[in-house]
Assembly symmetry: C3
Homo-oligomer: 333 residues x 3
């Protein structure tokens, strides 16, 4: 399983995080430290973005095998605001024209002194595979891996909840919709459980529920009204049409009638509930525009936190690798 492998793979011999492949295996303290650092980088629209030179002289390569304008730009801005050089490689069009293997591409870029690979892929396994093969001073950050893992999304979600609702121990959080195809549900759910969320609810039709033992500790619900009842946080998920096989294809209108989050059925949650969505939204399918753009929505705040979280992740892993390099140099003297 990718995530289990990833949990070990992402640490160096001294246990420091050198990759970010998954949130599986990260301790409460580690998550809290990343969130605190991200909070330090948060600036709201209208403020001058936070900048430092923690990645000065470093090179970050964005390798996206699956299209994503928003996540690519979020990582690109995070890296540039830390002083890094950034190169973008659109792996859909430019990569395999000449039939080179992915690993040859990686080794080639590593030989050009790329320090961090930010990778997105529609298939599971690539980030861990690459992390297992790069040199000890090179890092891999998972920017979205099939339905399996999306660790920076998990971090930005819990950062947003913490900012709005404070201590997680007292909160009811409902994750709603297409859970089975969602890397966000898995990563955000894992972060919430590790951080000791009071009550985590997985809410979906049976056909779109997570596999049986996933996110142990969460309760499971097959009715929207019951699942979000009294919740502090309602997180709707994107219907992942693009990850469904032909026979799984949903009837969007039917899904909306039963599972679309509207102002009407949001009344089942607490009056001060916040509504989250990882974007991009299918308006009128999993969420209505009056909810998406309404007073409960914190969807834009999630995006703002995304840049801050990516700055925190990049600066943490680069600093950890630097520490390792210094120790290795000391041993070599």
């Amino acid at each position: 399983m990718t995530t289990d492998t990833g949990a070990e793979l992402q640490r160096d011999h001294a246990g420091r995080l050198r990759h970010l492949l998954t949130l599986e295996g990260l301790s409460r303290d580690e998550l809290t430290h990343l969130l605190d650092l991200a909070q330090f980088y948060v600036r709201v629209p209208g403020e001058v973005p936070a900048r430092d030179q923690g990645l000065w002289g470093r090179t970050v390569a964005n390798l996206f095998f699956e299209p994503s304008t928003r996540t690519r730009v979020s990582f690109e801005l995070a890296a540039k605001r830390l002083g890094a050089d950034v190169v973008n490689l659109d792996m859909q069009s430019s990569s395999r024209v000449k039939g080179e293997t992915v690993l040859d591409t990686i080794y080639t870029l590593q030989a050009m002194l790329v320090d961090v690979f930010v990778m997105r892929d529609a298939e599971p396994g690539l980030p861990a595979y690459v992390a297992a093969h790069v040199a000890p001073h090179v890092s891999v950050v998972n920017a979205g891996e099939a339905h399996v893992s999306h660790p920076t999304q998990g971090l930005l979600d819990v950062l947003t909840i913490r900012q709005r609702k404070g201590d997680l121990g007292n909160l009811s959080v409902a994750i709603v919709g297409d859970l089975s195809h969602s890397r966000v549900a898995r990563s955000t759910g894992r972060a919430l459980l590790t951080l000791g969320v009071g009550d985590l609810r997985l809410v979906s039709p049976p056909s779109l529920m997570l596999e049986p033992h996933a996110l142990a500790g969460a309760s499971r619900h097959h009715s929207l009204a019951e699942g979000i009842k009294g919740a502090d946080v309602v997180m709707t998920l994107r219907i992942q049409h693009e990850r469904m096989s032909a026979e799984d294809k949903l009837d969007a209108a039917a899904f909306y009638r039963e599972w679309g989050l509207s102002a009407e059925n949001l009344k089942h949650a607490r009056p001060d509930a916040i509504v989250m969505h990882p974007g991009p939204m299918n308006r009128g399918v999993e969420i209505t525009s009056d909810v998406a753009d309404g007073p409960h929505s914190v969807i834009r705040q999630q995006v703002t936190n995304g840049v801050a979280v990516r700055m925190a992740v990049l600066s943490t892993i680069v600093r950890n690798v630097q520490e390792r390099n210094v120790e290795a140099g000391r041993r070599a003297v």
Copy 2:
């Protein structure tokens, strides 16, 4: 009408320019100030480009829904030479893969602390629509909007004329060719009229003339020889095949015979006339190569001025927004 809406929309409550959507409504003093600042940034090929840090820490996003290598690079270099971070989004390929609305894309980028959106679109209305929705500290620059408006092109054209010919009050300027599909004719014509050009002539076959009341004050001509007779400036326009409907499609050879600007028919203009073209040129259709590359041509100078004008526009709107922010902060204390 987009341009009228734009004229109001592009100012903040204190009347400062915070977007550049259109040249409609800009005063003679405002245009002159932008041109003077642009002149300050002009460097000719062989000189070191002008640089300053007026956009340091700012983020500029190029959103091109219509392909344009030259204009995208011109804005990208203008922003980089002012110290900005620049992200390029090819909205043709990458944007709507997941069905997100344009406004969701804009709000997402705004949440990542993008300060300026540079937008080009083949349809009218998008720049004003976006300008009406972004936060008060965010700016939109129209980099070409259907047949409607191309304000930075208008500015670079009048800057070029001013450099070569001085006071506009004594000049005859002829705009020639496919006026009906041309955003350049509309923006450059507007700038010339506001700045008090002596004599503005619109020269085209009847089927390609501007709508009846456009650019009031200009004379209209349906013969090339008569239209450019004694002109100081002859500005030819690109035949916009891509904006013509099927039944409007021109016979390029027939157009060339009657309307192509050649060394021969350029003799109708003044002996020291300058020839302009917004590019990219259809050589052998609206202009011959001996004119395009000949002694009257100032076409490359227009391109050089384009970068300077975009630097002036970006630094002006960012400074205006900064002023507004400071005032808002003062009121809040």
Copy 3:
């Protein structure tokens, strides 16, 4: 012939290198100087990349008419690590949408104060053609021209050999495989001959051999075993399927049986022979994975040297142009 034209074209009136179009005509001293400077810029993976500000304020435009992620990124990183602004133009998709000529695109970018054009094309002649037309302060670097020339690859290859094997005068170097379609064979072979390599061997089936008088001084061999016998360096070439006409198409399996470099037939070379490949590799066609990834391989070192060589080339031509500009200024006083 492109290369002959290029050899003269690439120098200014005082004989300084202002473009790099070809390695034809470069003296032993000139090559050695470029290699020494490149060596100064070499950093191995794990070290902080070399940086200086030799291109600060300069603009480098990457114009790739043929796809190449690795070479484009190598030039992009070289330019950025020297402090340049870099713009990427994908000329396959974005350039000719509006039917502009290549020279109009070049003149447009030159007018925006681009200093260096890095160009790749599948057809011969474009770099020299552009070099013949740009202004005296503008440079062209050939980043791969059809089957004709790839000068920075030639430089990085001889740099790699020099690092591993020292004095070229005592070495046997075998270039193996599809020579006829290879710009690498031509450029690397030329550099080796100019630098006085002891013994240069061209090894290929008759149908893929170089034209009769190319690389005079090299011996020719039509058997792999005989051609690499006792060689210090075995350089395999990529099978250029994409440059073969339909009737030339190779049977990859048949080629592999007779010409694929495997651990078995590598035994014909010296026990301490190094194996090189310009990449991207067709594993299992011209080279096996056990050789490509084995102890003789220096393929990743070639890639690392590529960035250093491109930094040396860019900083040399920009400094030469600067010298010329200063002299021209002095004469003008």
